[in-house]
Symmetry: C2
Subunit: 168 residues, 2 copies
DNA sequence: GGTTTTCTTGAATGGCGTACAAGAAAGGTA
DNA sequence: TACCTTTCTTGTACGCCATTCAAGAAAACC
């Protein structure tokens, strides 16, 4: 069932009708509504599923340098670009998605705080730096960049301006 | 007519039906379709209108310090949060909105490059810094923050860590 | 005054998310 | 075995949506 909701990731939420989901899953739309309160609830289930898988993988990389971790996350999550945009678009109008979004940011914020603290960001800048980190990662997800551009942005973000990635 | 499309800003694009727009404008939905090819074209017209007005106002502040300019932009554009999210959500699926989004980023990128260059960012980091700037501003628009948090983020972003805005 | 162009409309179409009453499957208990 | 209850699935229907089309009103032009 949730396998059928790969459609949200690849095709998009608004572009995927409940009928298409039902057909792909070999059932009727009404069946979907027995398992999920509404289409938003189905999206939340997909989000939870996807996030859980990503977190499990991320745990394997937790010892790598901070810049590598962030870059890995961007690479790993890039495929969920459509989910990122639709969550932000629907968060203000859908109770369930708004709640998921809030909790998601609490989680990501805490991970970012730890990462930047370990990377040596002074305590006074930690909150602001965390927000910048989250916004930049979301920006990279929503606006796909070339491999080098991604790396340049993350490198600059995480403070180690290793020089030699400029342009023109 | 475009005055009636204030609905997009305040209520949201998906939440505003063509019928509501037509009623608010004192016409029928069909009339709207004489002036605009589809609902997306109407959104693009609203975006152009809103952007033009903001740019005109921004020109008056072009002599202020870079950090103030960015902060002013965030304050000024915050009311368009719904537009920001819907543009990102629809850019991949709507030709016209995708085109608008591309051109918008070209414009904003060039403004950001100039701003950061004048602020003393080395040429080698300029491209990456510009992207970070754009992503952070978009992030601030999509995730409303308190006055102090906004200021702290922009201050850190623009490099003048003036100290004394930390937390806890 | 007649013709052409500009604008507005009512009615229709197909698709959407969702609700509901009815029934099939499955499981438990005698 | 037969009955009852819970779990699941379905066909059908509703109201709303974006969009289209043929028809007509208003305005502009000659």
């Amino acid at each position: 069932m949730r396998a059928a909701a790969t459609l949200f990731t690849d095709v998009g939420y608004d572009e995927t009708s409940t009928t298409k989901i039902a057909t792909a899953a070999g059932v009727t739309t009404t069946t979907i509504y027995w398992y999920f309160a509404d289409k938003d609830a189905l999206l939340v289930a997909v989000l939870d599923h996807v996030l859980e898988a990503a977190l499990a993988e991320a745990a394997l990389h937790s010892q790598r340098p901070w810049a590598d971790q962030v870059l890995w996350a961007v690479d790993r999550l890039e495929r969920y670009r459509r989910l990122v945009t639709v969550v932000h678009a629907r968060a203000p109008i859908s109770e369930s998605i708004g709640a998921w979004h809030d909790e998601f940011h609490r989680l990501v914020d805490s991970m970012m705080v730890d990462g930047f603290r370990d990377a040596g960001v002074p305590e006074s800048d930690l909150d602001a730096m965390t927000k910048i980190g989250v916004f930049v990662v979301e920006g990279l997800l929503m606006h796909p960049q070339s491999e080098q551009d991604r790396r340049a942005v993350v490198t600059l973000l995480t403070g180690q301006t290793r020089r030699g990635s400029g342009s023109s």
